[in-house]
């Protein structure tokens, strides 16, 4: 039988397997064919596996996630030649369930960016409109799932790198509660913020993949025991209390079409039995981005310091150690990592630490408290995921601050360590609009339930119009 990769959910693909309507190899090959057909245009993949072992369905993996024997570049020239000697915990978890890596997806270098334009290997393209970005940093995984090049994928999210691309490509992506998914083996960007999460075509697939990858890992001290994941079935939202932070729905820069799509989704939610009430997150939205751009670069400045050419990856020889490291890093790192390393090193420097990193950590506590207070009254918070729909490639690449502002709506909950999920809620100018549901700590099940009911009611077709 033919495997319709464009329309098949992971659950459905797995159904073909369990009903023996298609073999694991047939399904794997169908996705390889789709990659062969559509990836030359989209450039979602940095590496495609010929035949990864396993008896299950395929999965695409963001290239910051280490895969044993499979190149893992993090979108950087400095790791172009790097092949991990060990699997990340999330990959080990996937392999235990039979999942087969189909390839490594494009990312902004070291996951630093919102468009994949910072990838050292060139940008990915949005399946809805290839002249536009798929979002970032996980634009490769998003484009792959959106265009049916993989039934689902793993992404990583530091300040919005799963949610924002899911919004721009029109599917589901979860950034889990910090500490629920192991970071072991995942190329570190900002350790206190990085979380691996599922990228999927629908909420049930997303919830299932989350159940596969989450849980305490003895190799990551920051992980915790996770409540059992419930696959959502509910079709209504009775009793759900939705908070709508006004700063995140009325912020300057949010496109009219985005506001309208989210607004009609909220009306739909009310009709399904939810209560919808405006609330406020004043400091989180005002200071979130500034705070993020101190904390994340500070941690990155230390995390990226190991790329010195001594043990693996690129080496540019010099007369001595210092010169070798400088030449290696100059040649191997792109502008954005360099920019963030400089910001971060500065923020941590003696004499500036208190004013920058120290203050940012205090603000982070304020952001967390502000969110905690709202979750005493609400089950979920709702806002647009991205202020805009997918923007044209090149539109913001020369203006880092404009690029950073893409994440103004996703960053606050990341800083608070909270889970957030994107579902598509409509179109604006023919491009998908994403709706973000933020939950309390470990509130993934609540988010899944709400998102599933809303998803059913909205009935968004995740297949890009031009590919239908």
């Amino acid at each position: 039988m033919t495997v319709d990769t464009l329309r098949l959910s992971a659950e459905e693909a797995n159904g073909l397997l369990t009903r023996r309507e298609a073999s694991s190899d047939e399904i794997y090959r169908a996705y390889l064919d789709a990659i062969g057909e559509r990836d030359p245009e989209l450039h979602a993949f940095l590496y495609v596996c010929e035949n990864d072992p396993g008896e299950g369905i395929p999965i695409a993996v963001k290239d910051v996630i280490g895969t044993r024997g499979i190149p893992t570049t993090a979108g950087s020239k400095i790791l172009e030649s790097y092949i991990p000697v060990y699997d990340s915990t999330v990959i080990a978890n996937c392999r235990e369930r039979g999942l087969r890596v189909i390839g490594k997806t494009n990312t902004d270098e070291f996951a630093m960016g919102s468009s994949t334009e910072n990838s050292a290997f060139g940008p990915s393209h949005n399946p809805w409109d290839p002249s536009r970005v798929p979002g970032g940093s996980g634009g490769g995984s998003a484009a792959a799932v959106s265009a049916g090049l993989a039934p689902w994928a793993l992404g990583s999210d530091t300040g919005g790198s799963i949610k924002q691309p899911a919004a721009l490509c029109g599917h589901v992506g979860l950034r889990p509660t910090y500490g629920t998914v192991s970071r072991y083996g995942v190329v570190a960007f900002a350790s206190s913020l990085d979380q691996v999460g599922p990228v999927a075509r629908n909420v049930r697939d997303c919830a299932f993949l989350y159940s596969v990858i989450s849980g305490r890992d003895e190799n990551d001290s920051t992980t915790v025991d996770v409540p059992a994941v419930e696959l959502p079935t509910a079709e209504d939202l009775k009793g759900l209390r939705i908070g709508v932070p006004k700063e995140m729905n009325g912020a300057a820069g949010i496109e009219g079409g985005v506001t309208a799509a989210v607004q009609s989704a909220l009306e739909l939610a009310e009709s399904l039995g939810a209560s919808v009430e405006e609330c406020s997150l004043p400091r989180s939205v005002d200071y979130g981005v500034a705070c993020y751009y101190l904390v994340a670069p500070a941690e990155a400045s230390a995390n990226l310091a190991r790329y010195d050419g001594v043990r693996y990856g690129l080496r540019d020889d010099g007369a001595d150690f210092r010169e070798m490291v400088m030449k290696t890093r100059d040649a191997g790192l792109g502008d954005e990592p360099k920019r963030r390393i400089m910001i971060g090193a500065y923020a941590l420097s003696a004499g500036y630490y208190d004013a920058y990193y120290g203050t940012a950590q205090k603000v982070r506590t304020v952001i967390k408290r502000e969110h905690d207070a709202l979750f005493e009254r609400f089950d979920v918070l709702v806002s647009p995921t991205s202020p805009t729909v997918a923007f044209p490639i090149g539109a913001k690449i020369d203006d880092p601050v404009a690029m950073y502002m893409n994440d103004v709506l996703t960053i606050p909950s990341c800083m608070a360590g909270l889970p957030g999920l994107n579902i598509p809620c409509g179109l604006s100018e023919g491009l998908p609009v994403g709706l973000q549901l933020i939950g309390p700590q470990f509130g993934e099940n609540t988010i899944f339930r709400a998102a599933h009911a809303l998803e059913q009611a909205i009935g968004f077709d995740v297949v890009p119009e031009r590919l239908r």
Partner: protein, 489 residues
């Protein structure tokens, strides 16, 4: 071989005489920073074996090699042992301790940051009471914290130094092994006390079984901060740091030399520069390693890959209960019976428990201490293997048996089933009727030496005594031989 043992007499100060030429008006201020490598089974943040030796880079993994994505997982045992040391040093154990990243680039530091502790260490505000001949000196402990060790760089060049090296090889076996850093308050005011503190601290960590603390293997290392100030003042002047000292005696010499240097500078109207000095015992001067102007900004920040360590009261109480009487207290106790020096040597040499057993078995306390601190240490015997009853018999019979028999017996005292009895049967020859003919024969055989002795070269007495001892196979009583040689010459 244990460091710092071998004499029951105080070492003569080889350095500056602080009482000379108006120097009595200066007070040295000394602080110590000590690193002790814990002998846990595994490294601090990964499961690699923690052991000295091994093929270069054979004890490594993605974590200690800083591969992308690798994360640290703290070694519970290392945390417990640091707490134990903290308790032995009367420190406050933090309810919440935090690991920090200390950032710097060096080939021995693969992450380009060391996981260490900064402003929330595991142990703080303690002290170590150091017994001295004038009573107990209390040295404040600022902090004791846990961190990971660096790899070993091997600079490939004839000189063995960085300058002129053509390549650097890195052995990561040591990288990531647990290291405790102990920092003292600047409470020490003379080199001798610094040395005693270090010896006592070493003995404490060895007895707690935290570390082998072997200076020659680098499992104990220390830096010394030295400054001087006018006596009676409480100011803290610019200090210099002495590094790379591989024995406690060198440390004492280096400190004395540095104190004298600083006093000379001040008395000549100069200014002491803040710098790090590399102590080289072969040279009179301590050449500067680097001045502090090049000091790094380590950009410390809390390690986000780790959660704070929160040792519960139960754990701390359990660890406290494992502590036994510590060496400092034992020195003070033994010094009630013996001289302070003997007590110090016995305890810091790990010999005092055997000494107590010898005394209990009837040996004379002073005699037992002498034998342990001298012949026993020289024989290199592990005190744990000795049958105290048998050794006590030997000690008590030392004057009555030939020297050779005593030495032979001592060499075997650690062997399983050793008995002193066969050696005790050998009696020393003190009978002049037996000795005189031998002595006379030797005098007759060496007329030239005999003549020289008679004309005043008394040093030759030893020559004749030595010959007699040799002739008698060591069985003659040296005291009697001395007497008779003198008489017959």
């Amino acid at each position: 071989m244990t460091t710092g043992v071998g004499s029951t007499e105080p070492e003569k100060s080889g350095g500056a005489d602080l009482r000379g030429a108006g120097a009595g008006s200066w007070e040295p201020v000394i602080g110590l920073e000590i690193h002790v490598q814990l002998k846990t089974e595994t490294k601090m943040f990964c499961r690699c074996r923690n052991g000295f030796g091994g093929e270069p880079n054979s004890q490594t993994c993605p974590v200690c090699l800083a591969f992308p994505g690798a994360l640290p997982v703290p070694n519970r045992r290392a945390i417990e042992e640091t707490i134990k040391l903290g308790l032995a040093l009367d420190c406050t154990i933090a309810e919440r301790a935090v690991f920090h990243r200390k950032n710097y680039f060096y080939p021995d530091n693969p992450k380009a940051y060391q996981i260490s502790q900064y402003d929330e260490p595991l142990c703080a505000r303690g002290h170590l009471d150091v017994p001295t001949e004038h009573g107990v000196t209390r040295i404040g402990i600022t902090r004791a914290h846990l961190e990971e060790d660096a790899a070993k760089n091997v600079h490939v060049a004839a000189s063995g130094r960085i300058h002129g090296a053509t390549a650097t090889l890195v052995d990561f076996n040591r990288c990531g092994t647990p290291l405790v850093e102990i920092v003292t308050e600047p409470d020490i005011h003379d080199a001798e006390t610094a040395k005693r503190f270090l010896q006592l601290l070493r003995q404490t960590v060895v007895e707690l079984e935290l570390s082998d603390a072997e200076l020659e293997h680098g499992s104990m290392r220390f830096d010394v901060n030295v400054s001087v100030r006018p006596a009676g003042s409480d100011e803290l002047r610019t200090r210099t740091e002495l590094k790379n000292m591989n024995s406690f005696s060198f440390a004492a010499k280096g400190i004395e030399r540095e104190i004298a240097r600083q006093i000379r500078i001040y008395e000549d109207g100069g200014v002491v520069e803040q710098e790090t000095l590399h102590f080289d015992p072969a040279h009179e001067e301590s050449p500067p390693l680097r001045s502090k102007e090049e000091a790094q900004d380590y950009r410390y920040f809390p390690e986000p890959d780790l959660v704070p360590v929160e040792p519960g009261k139960d754990l701390v109480d359990r660890l406290r209960a494992t502590l036994q009487v510590l060496p400092g207290a034992r020195i003070t106790r033994i010094a009630e019976t013996l001289s302070f020096y003997d007590a110090d040597v016995l305890v810091t040499g790990g010999l005092d428990r055997l000494w107590t057993s010898l005394v209990d078995a009837g040996a004379d306390p002073k005699e037992a201490a002498n034998v342990l601190a001298n012949q026993f240490v020289a024989a290199g015997i592990d005190p744990g293997t000795v049958d105290a009853g048998e050794l006590a018999k030997l000690v008590s019979a030392r004057a009555e048996i030939p020297r050779a028999a005593f030495d032979e017996a001592l060499a075997k005292v650690g062997e399983r089933g050793f008995s002193a009895d066969p050696y005790l049967e050998q009696k020393v020859v003190a009978d002049t009727a037996e000795l005189d003919p031998i002595i006379q024969r030797i005098i007759d055989a060496n007329p030239a030496q005999a003549e020289q002795y008679r004309s005043g070269k008394e040093g030759l007495l030893g020559f004749f005594v030595g010959r007699v001892m040799k002739e008698t196979g060591g069985s003659a009583d040296p005291r009697v031989v001395n007497e008779r040689v003198r008489a017959l010459l």
